[in-house]
Amino acid sequence: MNEEQTWVSQAQQGDDEAFTKLVETYQTPVFNLCYRMLGEPELAEDAAQETFLRAYQHLHRYDEKRPFATWLLSIAAHYCIDKLRRRKFSMFSMDAEDDEGNSFEIPDVNAPNPEGESIKGQTQARVHAMLDGLDATDRAAIIMRYWYDYSEKEIAESLRLTVSAVKSRLHRARKEMAGVWQEEEDDLLAEMERRQHESPAF
């Protein structure tokens, strides 16, 4: 039995210290998943805390055959999916549709700061913007795949989907993200051309 299994076993018997060790170990992966899902640090903090509370309350349901991290991230993903769906619903119910009946996009909460931001930071912001446009479950699948290197089978188990559904969701999400990426590239190119034409040399 490894250290983690010992902590889980002790926590299942009511040892809060052991559970605290699990929180210390998994706070970053859980927070990162929540942050990537929800896009705001405050919401991510709340979601991560809630994930650990739920894990604490339902520890007796944990199946020891599964890796603890997968179980924990599955709780976090489901919580965030639920949160995003509610947020989307409340946004739609609060705001009216336009004349043509088009729905609204979720605003980019992490828009890049143009001044003094590094290229890496810009890329991060673009990744965030791309994730923002995805369906909640697709977003969870993408995060599990690219941040945690989960296999399609592991994602399927975590999100209670079939492997083929995960595969098609990943493909769809990647295509959507590439579309957004391409549009942004086009905008950037157009902006650069505009600036060239506006420069004093012309």
Binding site: T28, A48, Q49, L59, R174
Partner: protein, 176 residues
């Protein structure tokens, strides 16, 4: 080669041989869709892992403690409401009898003594019947039937004990 296999390679994150890599690089020069797919793949793989602000564990412990207190308070209030409503209901049902007892206590006491005497004599008669049956019935029942009966009773008792244990058992991990 047409566009489709390259798109599949990129979407499936396929491990590419040197020759396949060359083919893909050549395709990316002409295909903007696949270029965008490759770039998003790279951006996703290079995305950093974000950590929570310092003191996350402490904040969790505080939240857990607050939740335990709230849970205890909710249970206490639930119990108080249950007891008060139970007593209220009991009082509502018992009020006519209490009123009648206060109005004529001697009649009530006589009725109560009569009731207890009836119960006592009935129990005596019942125990006498059981005693007689126990003396007579064993002669008619073969030993194997006794064994079946006792085993069944033992099994039922075991089921009863296990059921009580399962209902009374506190879920693991919940110490509130």
């Amino acid at each position: 080669m047409n566009h489709q296999p390259f798109e599949s390679w990129l979407l499936d994150d396929k491990y590419l041989s040197a020759a396949e890599k060359r083919e893909l690089t050549s395709h990316l020069r002409d295909c903007r869709t696949c270029t965008a797919l490759a770039e998003t793949g790279l951006a996703l793989r290079s995305a950093k892992v974000t950590s929570p602000a310092a003191g996350f564990t402490l904040r969790f412990q505080q939240r857990l403690a607050a939740q335990k207190v709230a849970e205890r308070r909710r249970k206490l209030w639930g119990m108080i409401v249950l007891i008060v409503s139970g007593l209220g209901l009991l009082g509502w049902f018992a009020a006519p009898f209490v009123y009648a007892f206060i109005a004529a206590p001697v009649e009530w006491l006589t009725a109560a003594v009569g009731y207890f005497l009836f119960m006592f004599t009935s129990l005596q008669a019942f125990s006498e019947i059981i005693r007689v049956l126990l003396r007579m019935v064993p002669n008619f029942i073969p030993p194997y039937a006794w064994m079946v009966l006792l085993s069944s009773l033992g099994g039922l008792g075991l089921i009863w004990i296990v059921s009580i244990w399962r209902f009374a058992r506190k879920p693991q991990g919940v110490t509130a």
